[in-house]
Symmetry: C3
Subunit: 143 residues, 3 copies
């Protein structure tokens, strides 16, 4: 958590672009704070003849699908802040390069998630603080 | 919204097939009515040695995963109609070619979705009507 | 249902590995019992320069995304058992090969799912028993 899947045109991004964008995405979550290693990004090239918007093939479109697990956004203020933060992070790689884009988030059940076989610690626990500071999973000590 | 991911055998579809199917899919939603540009389809080839049903590799199977965001289906009548409409749209590309298939829909939160940085208009608003008629996003004027 | 998407390093698995792992995954669900053909697994190679954890590219990481449709897990005992069963099934292909891993499940609406154009039978019905014993879909006889 989060899992970002970034569907993008073939050749849109260099290795350096993807590294830089994944760092920007990670910062959004590490500021919550959440462990950095929670942030997984999968970049996937989609050939123009396999990518359609409104029934027409597209070569300048980026579609981002996020799954959020560790936290749910319950207030409008949280959502507004998250989207503002996200748009700033991704703009240099999408809007500023002339791509169109769309993104959506699904929130999936906290209790149906494991990292390296371990059920992650609940929000705000000492276990979560340790996962953040050590940036790696370790046995959970609370129920 | 919707986002359709179509997992299919390598070489199952030509560029023309994919274009035609994406148009059929778009019609399902434009009849709601919804803006045509909401409809995103990603075709993804899956090699036979990476695609398994019931523990056996498959070369004649299409798996469709849809995310719905703009509308939720609340009545059985809506669901029945949607599936009937969908099966007709996809049959020439799947059933009539001898492929097996499975599809499912997830409904994800309306408030966790943006298009080109804009939170899309709510159902039935003047903003949504404008998005439909212009077939592009523009600033939302309601809360 | 379930749909497993397994994102893994390029070349991590042979055809035999993927076949064997998909059989192990299928057993988890056939023990419920559920029809074996419900279990769909898509393996997807992700090049190291397209796969990021915590802002760093990874070449030894497996990320599994599952969608569950036919059953929801409502008790902690069910979840604990499922994860224990799953970890045993995947360990020879992930942990024992030195890969890190993360997995999560989304539960999506039963009523928004079809197999070969048929709405699958509800849990425990005679129809479901027939689907299990015949290992193929056939017309549903209940509402």
């Amino acid at each position: 958590m989060p899992l970002w899947k970034v569907y993008h045109p073939v050749g849109a991004y260099t290795r350096e672009d993807k590294h830089a964008l994944s760092k920007k995405i990670t910062e959004i979550y590490s500021e919550v704070p959440l462990p950095k290693f929670y942030v997984v990004v999968v970049f996937q090239e989609v050939p123009q003849d396999s990518f359609y918007v409104g029934g027409e093939s597209v070569g300048n479109f980026v579609r981002i699908h996020m799954d959020h697990i560790a936290r749910q956004m319950t207030s409008e203020a949280q959502k507004t802040k998250f989207f503002a933060r996200t748009e700033v992070a991704i703009a240099p790689f999408i809007r500023d390069r002339g791509f169109d884009w769309e993104l959506h988030i699904d929130e999936t059940p906290f209790d149906l998630w494991t990292v390296k076989g371990i059920r992650p610690p609940r929000a705000g626990t000492e276990d979560e603080k340790r996962w953040i500071s050590e940036n790696r999973p370790s046995p959970r000590t609370h129920d």
